[in-house]
């Protein structure tokens, strides 16, 4: 069970209070009324699904009820930070990213690795 920092409650809270809500920063097109099928597909279906650093949405459903965003590494599952809905993607420092990278290949040998380059 993850521990997630809610930027509105300003503390770490157990995953059971949250609802994952998919990739972040997918802004709804302004021209929905006459959107092309291509643009609709891009907005509604296509996902980056990044192996590495991901920006995703959560809702503190059973807490303050707010949607917010998180930067997380999808291999180590570690959070770098969370931030309020509507705020831009944060600039992440190298140190912040390094802190959440999974370790380079070691033993057990069958775990995935991602270098810092991949993560960015």
């Amino acid at each position: 069970m993850l521990l997630i920092h809610c930027p509105y409650c300003e503390e770490d809270r157990p995953e059971l209070e949250f609802h994952g809500a998919g990739e972040a920063h997918m802004e709804r097109p302004k021209n929905m009324g006459d959107i092309s099928p291509e643009d609709f597909e891009k907005f509604f279906f296509i996902r980056e699904n990044r192996k590495g650093l991901v920006f995703e949405r959560w809702r503190h459903l059973h807490g303050c009820g707010r949607f917010f965003n998180a930067a997380r590494h999808s291999v180590s599952d570690k959070f770098i930070c969370t931030y309020k809905a509507g705020e831009p993607k944060p600039e992440l420092s190298d140190e912040q990213i390094a802190a959440v990278l999974p370790p380079a290949k070691g033993t057990p040998a069958n775990e995935p690795i991602v270098s810092k380059g991949d993560a960015k």
Partner: protein
């Protein structure tokens, strides 16, 4: 006038270090408000809304619980005075909805109260993390609850009325398996 029937009416439980009892009728208002409406709301309510997460403010028989950044649960005596107070407001930048009957409340008290709650609530309920007066919406097993710590060993738990039977039984199952 039609009779009021509360959920959990006439239930009661007590054991070593734990007492669980339903709390009677209350007036409850779910308040959502814009910053610009705070001052006027606080005036008609006669209390300052808590602005800090996980805190509550009690004045006389009214308590305001911080639920979210623009959301409060206001508890008061069951006399419709809260909704009347909101009725006096001119501002349109808020929403006050009567939820008196949506929720019901249970008091959990005794030295084992935290343990009983921690069977189903994953939050840290130590006094350090959750001091007297702290409140939070959270979960208790499969039910959503609002928890308000009213004393070192005393909690006020709110849940939606149709979840109350489940919450009650889960509390009892917990209280009998310490």
């Amino acid at each position: 006038m039609a009779n009021l029937e509360l959920p959990l009416q006439s239930r009661m439980f007590a054991n070593d270090g734990i007492a669980i009892a339903p709390i009677g009728s209350l007036e409850r208002v779910s308040l959502r408000a814009d910053d610009s409406a705070f001052a006027s709301i606080e005036k008609v309510l006669g209390l300052t809304l808590p602005k800090k997460p996980k805190t509550s403010v009690t004045k006389d028989d009214r308590t305001a619980l911080w639920i979210g950044p623009d959301e409060w649960l206001i508890l008061g005596q069951d006399n419709a005075s809260l909704m009347q107070a909101f009725g006096k407001l001119r501002s349109q930048k808020f929403s006050a909805v009567d939820v008196s009957h949506r929720n019901c409340a249970i008091q959990i008290s005794g030295e084992n109260a935290v343990m009983v709650l921690n069977t189903g609530c994953p939050q840290d309920l130590s006094l350090k993390a959750f001091p007297v007066g702290a409140c939070s919406r959270t979960v208790y097993a499969k039910a959503e609850i609002i928890l308000l710590r009213t004393g070192e060993n005393e909690f006020h738990l709110e849940c939606w009325r149709s979840f109350s039977d489940y919450v009650w039984k889960f509390l009892l199952d917990s209280a009998t398996s310490l």
